[in-house]
Subunit: 113 residues, 2 copies
Amino acid sequence: MTENAESSEKEVEARPSPARAPIPPDTILIGSKPIMAYATAIMMHFSGGKKILTIKARGRAISTAVDVVEVVRRRFFEGKMKVIDIAIGTQAIGEGGDVRNVSTIEIKVEKTE
Amino acid sequence: MTENAESSEKEVEARPSPARAPIPPDTILIGSKPIMAYATAIMMHFSGGKKILTIKARGRAISTAVDVVEVVRRRFFEGKMKVIDIAIGTQAIGEGGDVRNVSTIEIKVEKTE
């Protein structure tokens, strides 16, 4: 069985790197896949009965994260999912002399019914 | 006197279009200029004594907006500016048969001292 087959739907971005911490539960990390890949992951998360999900992104993927949340909220859940918190921040990535700062966003959403 | 010469520092993005409403006061609209252009506009806004500012962006510029806020907050204000609200949404742009949805973000910041 490959690593991919074992991974849950929450691990949409399956490119682990030494600098990246393990993805916490109830979290989807937005990368460079098509919006619908992440939208599907969100749908599957909530279809399992969970109520809370945090969508995280950094750098250029921040715009995609907002797109994903908006598409899911408007097209798939039609008001039954709401944004309950949005936080932005900065994360240092890289090692040694190649450290740079990248902006981050965390969008916490709740399925309301 | 041209229209540009009359515009305040808040109108950093000076490309009016029929679909775009007038930029409200205490608002900076993030477009495709370098981050430091917007950072300077924010500094000037607060140096005039104002305490509240809303940074708006849509589409790909959403990532830039987060970068701008983070750079200003960390590098220039060092804790003296805080994010008090973040909202995301969707806006229909275009006319007739060429309407498409674009994601938006509004980041409200406050200078605290």
